[in-house]
Amino acid sequence: MSNQSGADGTVLKVHAVSKKVSSPDGSLTILSDVSFDVSRGETVAIIGPSGAGKSTLLALLAGLDLPSDGAVTLNGHNLGELDEDGRARVRADSVGFVFQSFHLVPSLNALENVMLPLELAGVDDARRRSNDIIERVGLAERWSHYPSQLSGGEKQRVAIARAFSTEPAVLFADEPTGNLDSRTGETIMDLMFDLNRNSSTTLVLVTHDSKLAERCDRIIALDSGKLASDTRAAA
């Protein structure tokens, strides 16, 4: 909705971020000294084995959690300097999500699920905009269906429509094809990349799928909580 990326076009700045949690065995480091920048419109895949800290990094990037050390700047806002409500406002303004388990509200139909972030952001023509986007994801005939009446692929289409409905500066996707068969997953990713191209949204994608990662402009690999590599696709 708003774009406050830096003069250099950086929309996401990650500086020396660490995340430690306490466990019965003492302090456990999940992420250690991770730094990178993401430019506006870039598509970035974060890959790594299970337990590498991918989802933790995604949570920190989106302001869902705070780092133990370091700083995350999202669309010009240093998330560590904001309280929870401040971070929520930044998310409302700049962020969209697509989750592995869809996270649709079961009591809302497809259209109402898409309308949710628009209503929270106080957009006046939420219904019209939601109708447009739901048509673009190919669910015009199923807008009134509830999540329980939709297939996994259809649920993820609704989730993608919801994520793009606010035209966010950054879209975070956590294993978006993780609960889909390979064919449906491919279709869903085609849709997501198409929408991303058309809206110039920055896409940050956590995935295990190397084929999917290769479709991104850039691949950031994590291993044991550390940045193992940061590779850009050949132009």
Binding site: S55, L64, E84, A88, A92, L116, P117, L120
Partner: protein, 389 residues
């Protein structure tokens, strides 16, 4: 978006999806129980109040073991008071070969001085207000007596040595609950027929009353005059206040008993509200985490929860009151054999009290669970084990 708008929309959706039905049912149950009892006690209370001044059929009732002294009548007349007499006695009455114990009440002109006698011409027929007292040669009886002796209006009833024609059925008389006659069906006869029945004689168990009515000052003056040493003292003096106190006391006991059942319902409902609110909050936690991840602030979550709680209360009170009203109607029907009087329409006070109780229940037992939702970490959308602190 304003929380109110969002709360209205999302509440409609949640109502439609059935997510709030358990919590709503608990509120409806509480309000229904409270209003049912409230309506019933309210109606009984109003009936008692309405009848309080009628329970003696007079403002003052003097009992005498002998025939009513003429001096009492003279003193009443001197104080511009109205008077009438009733003479009551138990007696077996006959209709053909059938007989039944009854309470024979001989009344004089003017009876009742307060309230009205209502009659019907047939069992369960339309009631009318009696004009005057039974004419000589006729008798008015309560319906239960007709059933006991197998008689009907128009038949002959033997009262003592006198045969009288049953000309009406007594549906209601103001002083019907006073004295032994409440245990046996009443037979109302004209005082002029009393001597011919032969029921009053040496050793007969007779209750003689002088009924007195008038304004308060005159009554007081009359009572003062009765204290004169030259005036025969009544064996008992009943005032409307004393009688209504008894009636109120009975109504109060009934009210307390019914209120106890309402309190038990309320306690059970409180548990139900607390449990269903907790369940509702747990189920809602994922939605709140999602809303927060999409940009909802803590204040927004609280405001939405509060508005929805108010909606829940309003719907619960409206639906519960309707159910309570219907339940009270059913209760009144079941108790119609015990509650002789026609109950007045209920007021709005039970709804106000039950509504207040419902909101106290919601605020006390449901609000804490819903308020805890604001602490739901948005991280829960990625880590399902993330819980409010």
């Amino acid at each position: 978006m304003r929380p109110l708008n969002f709360a209205v929309r999302s509440f409609g959706r949640e109502l439609r999806s059935g997510e709030v039905l358990v919590l709503l049912s608990a509120v409806i149950l509480a309000v229904g129980a409270l209003t049912a009892v409230g309506f019933l006690t309210d109606r009984i209370g109003k009936a008692v109040t309405r009848q309080a001044n009628e329970v003696l059929a007079a403002d003052l009732r003097l009992r005498s073991k002998d025939p009513i002294p003429q001096v009492w009548r003279s003193l009443a007349a001197d104080n511009s008071l109205q008077t009438a007499t009733t003479t009551s006695m138990p007696s077996v009455v006959f209709a053909g070969d059938n007989s039944a114990l009854s309470g024979v009440v001989a009344v004089s002109d003017g009876y009742p001085l307060r309230g009205q006698v209502r009659l019907t011409s047939e069992l369960f027929g339309e009631q009318r207000v009696a004009e005057g007292i039974p004419p000589p040669g006729e008798v008015w009886v309560e319906s239960s007596l007709l059933a006991r002796v197998g008689a009907d209006v128009g038949d002959t009833l033997g009262v003592g040595e006198l045969d009288l024609t049953i000309s009406a059925i007594v549906a209601y008389r103001p002083d019907q609950s006073v004295g032994f006659t409440s245990f046996a069906p009443t037979v109302l006869i004209n005082d002029e027929d009393l001597a011919a029945t032969g029921l009053v004689g040496e050793g007969s168990r007779v209750f003689r009353f002088l009924l007195v009515a008038g304004n308060e000052g005159d009554i007081e003056a009359f009572r003062d005059a009765l204290d004169d040493d030259d005036v025969p003292a009544p064996t008992r003096v009943n005032t409307a206040e004393q009688s209504s106190e008894r009636a109120f006391s009975a109504a109060d006991r009934a009210k307390r008993f019914l209120s106890l059942t309402a309190v038990i319902s309320l306690l059970l409902s409180a548990v139900a509200v607390a449990m269903s609110a907790r369940r509702f909050a747990l189920r809602r936690m994922d939605t709140v985490a999602l809303m927060k991840s999409l940009g909802a602030t803590q204040g927004f979550v609280i405001a939405v929860s509060l508005v929805q709680l108010v909606f829940l209360g309003i719907i619960g009170v409206a639906a519960g009151s309707a159910i309570g009203f219907a339940a009270e109607a059913a209760l009144s029907l079941i108790l119609s054999d015990i509650i002789a009087a026609d109950l007045p329409d209920p007021g709005l006070m039970p709804v106000i009290l039950a509504g207040g109780s419902a909101f106290v229940l919601l605020l006390g037992f449901a609000l804490p669970s819903l308020l805890q939702l604001r602490e739901t970490p948005p991280l829960r959308v990625l880590r399902h084990d993330a819980m409010p602190p």
